[in-house]
């Protein structure tokens, strides 16, 4: 297979997908459009988790807290205090970044399973606060009535308009993330994933690079959270609860944590599974749990590794490596 041939095919497919995605509201039902909007905002969240897991080798369970946090800020400032469109959104992003900085400074002192635990704890702290604070965040009830803005006469409250806006934003997000991952920064992140010890011996500020990556990931989760708040119109503590966090992590694994497109593919599959299975049976949690169980056992590299498997029969060590997060493997 010649390289240019592959490239051309890739171009054709890529263009095809983009065209299909952009034209979606024109040929698909409203519910499909809504579901794809959902895929987009969860996609942001999955990209956030996926970047940390796949590129930096850090399994963070705080990301949904950032996702919820930005929604809360929008609700508090916009819906309840009437702050206008770009300002409240920028403040939401700012709040997410500041929180991520504080959490990151603490969490980045740890590694692997301890990091997982500490981020889980951070996530639970945010959730518990939202759940129990009734004076500001209305506890369990959350904040409702969040509406997308009308900009230059375009009403983003309309499903299709909002979809296009979200699609545009995630396109930028994906492009930027791709650039980032292929930049020296991204490479350094991979280096830290592979061997943090060597990276500091080479003179890299390992700690700060990890903190920076945490901020970037939080930014993605935050943007996703804003889109989600606008799309659902409501933000509640469940937005950041543990089961959501876990669902996202499983989604990333389902798609393939080590692939750039893994989180997106995983989200597409998982959201549709959710939609389809919950129609078919009341026991959809059992079915989804079972699917995840099987994925972890028999397809640890995720759905995208199927293709890899056929292309390269020899096992790809990267899958293994990222997936297993070898804890403290001794050097001898």
């Amino acid at each position: 297979m010649s390289r240019t041939g592959a490239n051309r095919r890739r171009l054709v497919f890529g263009t095809g997908v983009i065209v299909l995605a952009v034209l979606l509201p024109l040929y698909a039902g409203e519910y499909t459009v809504t579901t794809f909007t959902r895929i987009i905002y969860f996609g942001f969240l999955a990209l956030s988790v996926g970047m940390l897991v796949g590129q930096a080798g850090m399994v963070s369970l705080t990301q949904t807290a950032f996702f919820g946090l930005s929604g809360y800020v929008i609700g508090l400032l916009g819906t309840e205090r009437g702050m206008p469109f770009p300002l409240r959104d920028l403040i939401a992003i700012g709040a997410v970044l500041i929180t991520a900085l504080v959490f990151g400074l603490i969490a980045m002192r740890t590694h692997q399973i301890v990091f997982l635990m500490i981020t889980l704890a951070f996530g639970q702290i945010c959730w518990a606060f939202a759940q129990q604070n009734t004076s500001l965040l209305h506890g369990w009830a959350g904040i409702r009535g969040i509406r997308p803005p009308t900009i230059l006469g375009v009403n983003f409250g309309r499903t299709s308009n909002f979809y296009w806006a979200a699609l545009f934003i995630i396109a930028i997000g994906i492009y930027t993330l791709r650039r980032l991952i292929h930049s020296p920064f991204g490479l350094a992140l991979n280096g830290i994933r592979e061997n943090p010890r060597r990276m500091s011996a080479l003179g890299y500020p390992v700690y700060w690079i990890r903190v920076a990556s945490f901020l970037v990931a939080a930014l993605y989760a935050g943007v996703g959270g804003i889109l989600a708040a606008y799309s659902t119109g409501i933000v509640t503590p469940t937005t950041m609860q543990l089961s959501r966090t876990i669902w996202v992590l499983l989604t990333v694994i389902l798609g393939g944590a080590s692939y750039f497109w893994g989180p997106i593919v995983g989200t597409i599959i998982a959201v549709w599974l959710d939609v389809l299975i919950s129609q078919g049976t009341a026991r959809y949690n059992t079915v989804i749990g079972f699917i995840f169980l099987m994925t972890v056992l028999f397809l640890p590299g995720g759905v995208l590794s199927i293709a890899e498997f056929f292309r390269d029969r020899a096992n790809n060590p990267l899958l293994d490596r990222i997936f297993r997060l070898k804890s403290g493997e001794k050097n001898k």
Partner: protein, 286 residues
């Protein structure tokens, strides 16, 4: 004022008792296997439910305790043998497997036992109102405390006074060398995981008797368990004792003085400890 304080402290101790039973199993399994068993909460719920069914059918509470805990031990054992063993050594897949399992257990329990809150009925002889120091306090809560001390003591005996316990500790220290010296680490793993499940099954029956069981309590219980072992230091039995005592009192007094923030409060010591000493109060560096 004085009676209120006394009751609050007793409540804290009761909480601590159940916390210890919850945390000890999890921390043991983590210490040895590095498995963060996130189906711990679901095990709790299932153990309690099974106990409930037994009490319902036989009106025999002790039997329920045995049945609930043993069946969870068996479940844990089978899960370890058939699933966990396939992804041994990978922190993440092990954790994910337990998550998936917990989703399934919680959902299946819902299908079987429905959504009502259920309580295991205690026979009167197990829950006599006890009057001490001028207050009435449910007798079962004292039994709970006693049971938890008993469990702590037995665990200590097993771990520090038997060859089995020595194998477990050797496995925690250096599983490779232990196995090269003839310790069947796989067997030890299954044993510890089953023991951990047994303990949480006990906790489920106890919790289901003095509180209640309802869908959704699995995540609450899981969170409690995680906070207990993170605070105490993962893998440390002593740490679990200390953190259970701290959290028990904190929860008890928190509920009395700031009920709206009681649940949030239990994260505070954990956050502080994590920031200063990421391995927990009594944990070893991981």
């Amino acid at each position: 004022m004085y009676t209120k304080f006394l009751i609050l402290i007793l409540n804290g101790l009761t909480q601590a008792a159940i916390f210890f039973v919850l945390g000890s199993g999890l921390t043991l399994a983590f210490g040895l296997m590095r498995v963060m068993n996130l189906s711990h909460g679901a095990f709790y719920l299932l153990g309690g439910y099974i106990g409930y069914s037994v009490v319902h059918a036989t009106h025999n509470w002790p039997l329920a305790l045995v049945a609930g805990s043993l069946s969870i031990a068996l479940l844990g054992f089978l899960f370890e043998r058939t699933m966990l063993v396939r992804v041994r050594g990978g922190d993440l897949p092990e954790t994910l497997l337990t998550i998936a399992l917990s989703m399934i257990i919680a959902d299946v329990s819902l299908a079987i036992w429905g959504g009502h809150p259920l309580t295991l009925n205690l026979p009167a002889y197990l829950n006599p109102p006890i009057r001490i120091l001028g207050i009435t306090y449910p007798g079962f809560r004292f039994i709970l405390m006693g049971l938890s001390v008993l469990i702590a003591f037995s665990l200590w005996l097993i771990l520090y006074r038997t060859k089995l316990g020595a194998s477990v500790r050797a496995g925690v220290d250096d599983r490779e060398t232990a196995s090269a010296l003839g310790v069947n680490v796989d067997k030890i793993y299954s044993f510890v995981f089953a023991l951990s499940a047994l303990l949480v099954g006990v906790a489920g029956v106890l919790g289901g008797s003095y509180l209640q069981l309802s869908p959704g309590s699995d995540t609450t219980i899981l969170t409690y368990s995680l906070v207990i072992i993170i605070l105490g230091g993962m893998g440390s039995l002593l740490g679990t004792v200390v953190s259970s005592l701290i959290l028990g009192q904190l929860l008890s007094f928190g509920l009395a003085y700031a009920p709206q923030y009681s649940y949030f409060l239990i994260f505070v010591p954990m956050g502080v400890v994590l920031a200063i000493r990421p391995q927990g109060l009594f944990g070893r560096q991981v």
